[in-house]
């Protein structure tokens, strides 16, 4: 039973445009959400996070939006750059240290 779902396995975006990666979750006890970025042959790297008491968090070109009623979060990258091409994982915490990851979305940013 997947508690964190990333239903789009891949996304292709033109350089300079907005990339929107989506994530849905089923566990209403999740209270902290994270996005990680992963390049081939490397471990995931933390990108941005959001607490369940907020609905938006912004860090440079990256913004995460949380819709608790819909159990949905999204990561916006504006403007997208070729170096953003990677696999992006959505993840969630229930209040402790156990992180539940989605299956990932592979982003291709075309120059």
């Amino acid at each position: 039973d997947q508690q964190v779902k990333q239903n789009s396995p891949s996304l292709s975006v033109q350089e300079g445009r907005i990339s929107i990666l989506n994530c849905d979750y089923t566990n209403s006890m999740f209270d902290y959400f994270l996005w990680y970025k992963k390049y081939p042959a490397e471990g995931p790297t933390f990108l941005i996070s959001i607490s369940s008491i907020k609905d938006k968090n912004e860090d440079g070109r990256f913004t995460v939006f949380l819709n608790k009623s819909a159990k949905h979060l999204s990561l916006h990258i504006v403007p997208s750059q070729p170096g953003d091409s990677a696999v992006y994982f959505c993840a969630a915490l229930t209040g402790g240290f156990k992180t539940i990851f989605g299956a990932g979305t592979r982003l291709f940013v075309k120059a």
Binding site: T45, F97, K98, G102
Partner: protein
């Protein structure tokens, strides 16, 4: 400074053999995590250490899997009687203090285990 390192980077073994995977966390990080990532999936939590003790091993799939961290630094994940289904990338991460919710986990590059 040095990041999380994992050795070996690749391990090929035969079904039924025993393997050990090593993780060197960032110096000073007290929390250490092991994950397993199968093809096309995200990392799956296995075990979490706070210092020398396993605070949560609920993600270990069965008793063939065991992990230790005897001095609160390096950790070893041990798999007995390996099965083909154990083939995956095993990731290690560390963070400065316990908590998880606000402490960034830093991941190593992983060990790719292939069981023939």
């Amino acid at each position: 400074g040095a990041g999380v390192s994992q050795t070996p980077s690749n391990k090929v073994t035969e079904k039924g053999k025993y393997v050990e995977l090593r993780c060197d966390p960032i110096s000073g990080h007290t929390a250490l995590y092991w994950y397993r990532q199968s093809l096309g999936q995200g990392p799956e939590f296995l075990i979490y250490f706070q210092g020398t003790g396993a605070a949560d091993d609920s993600g270990l799939p069965n008793d063939r899997f065991f992990a230790v961290r005897p001095e609160g630094s390096v950790s070893t994940l041990k798999i007995q009687r390996t099965e083909r289904g154990d083939s995956a990338v095993y990731l290690c991460a560390s963070s400065l203090v316990a908590g998880g919710r606000t402490d960034t986990q830093y991941f190593g590059p992983g060990t790719r285990l292939t069981v023939l």
